[in-house]
Amino acid sequence: MSASSQPHKRSRWRLEGRALVGVPMVLLFLFLALVGPWLAPYAPRAIDLAHELEGPSLRHWLGTADNGVDVLSVLLTGARTAGLVGVSTVLISFVLGSALGSISGYAGGRTDLILARVTDAVAAMPSLVINVALLALIARPGFGHMIAALSATGWVTYARVSRAEVLRLREREFVTAARALGASPSRVLLLHVLPNAMGPLIVQATFGLGGAVLAEASLSFLGLGPGAGASWGALLDQGTAYLLRAPRLAMIAGVAIAMTVLGFNLTGDWLRDALDPKESSD
């Protein structure tokens, strides 16, 4: 059914529009997340009441926010916050989710039934609501709390993808062969099944990074962000409060968030088609 009417001649890794736009956006974001705080001209909380909510100038290239805080510095330091929370959340969710999902798919039976039920239950809930509820119960949420809360809902997609992949691969000849040679279940799973399930999981992780950056911004926007450091979401929160006086703030924070999410989505889309031409959406 998915057989295309036209033969697939071009190379899988052709650098097309999506990749040419998306990959540089992702690289720029990762670069800023690494070095942003060192490039920032001011501390992200340096107060300068005489220059509150000013427009762009030579001293403050993107102007100032509430309390005269330099917007460029908030933007650069906020990239670190988004990157740190995004990458850690995806790493934890990836490992936890694919472990649970592949165990569930490989073991089958009652284990599978219970794990799949739990996955469905978490997936049925709006993740933002769970995140808000978890963070709200903590008096002063920090980076660790936010990463934990986001991972508590984030593992579900990786569990689903890896379970489906393991179910698909479980009965293949090379797996049967490995089992016939006396390999233990964990060895079969780790050395034979999981490496072949990596493609879809990596695609999922790419989308997941965009999702985690957005979730961090959303939670910070709602005032549940880590107290230390700066956040794009918190800048956007200020931006909506000063929408008439300084529309610049909401626009700068919004563009940063939107570009990052778009970059990861475009890259993920491109990766999915490159890794699995069958599901090509064009």
């Binding site: 039920r117 049925a124 933002l128 609501v129 931006g239 968030i257 778009l262 475009l266």
Partner: protein, 313 residues
Amino acid sequence: MRYFGYLSRRLVGGLLTVLAVISVCFLVLEALPGDPTDMILGETATDQDRVQLRRMLRLDQPFSTRYAQFLLDIVVPARGMGHSLRQPTRSAWSMIVEAWPDTVALALGAGLVAWTLAIPLALIAATRPRTKTDAVVGVVSMLGVAIPSLWLGPLLILAFCVALPWLPFPGPDARGLPALILPSLTLGVGMAGILTRMGRVALRETLREPFIQAARARGLSEPAVLIKHALRAAMVPLLTAGGAQLSSLLGGAIITEKIFDRPGLGTLLLQSLTTRDLPVVLACVVVIAITAVFVQLLVDVAYVLVDPRIRLA
């Protein structure tokens, strides 16, 4: 009869999910380090206040009693899901009932935006594969998915309340239908993007199926083939996506309500968070959990109605 069995199994499963969610909330609350009275009252509270609050939160009773009472608060209507700590005369339920209609109106508006944008766009793109139109729909729907409501909301306010003052500026005075337009767009555009992308793929696959050729061979007009046959079959994956989206719509409502300064469940949740009104927080989460599970149930029921090929498992 088989249908009834299927429904009751699904219902029991849904109730178990709700029970799991509220139990987890309760357990997290229990497992938190430190004295909850510190968190609610602050460290300067008098001992008398503390004792009173401990009694209200039933902290003077054993764990099992607390859990049972907590469940009874939710199940027994007269208990109204517990009492607000900040407004002791009001039950959490009455506060939710007050906030509920605003959130429902917002969610309905967003759903309307999403489906009325997605279906025509998907039909246009799917019937013109590999053309400029198809590509444009692809890019537009990708942007719809990627633009966070966090940014779209302020952007729409600046465009249609400030630059072109056609709609009321958000605030407590902005009520009625005109004030609902921008929040619905903000919340609905992302869902529209996802549904368009799914619909385009699903419709194109459906259009290759033999039953479409059969319908054409019977002399049906092209619109009839598209809408009566192709769209109906493509509705199954679309309903799946839409159902999953409805649940995240509830989360998105928190953001949208904050951007547009609207009352609603999300605003109530945030307010009770900042005032540490735990019974109201828990009640909000429970109501949202029940809604999410119920919506999922409706989607599952709708499958069977839309596609007679689906067997009841």
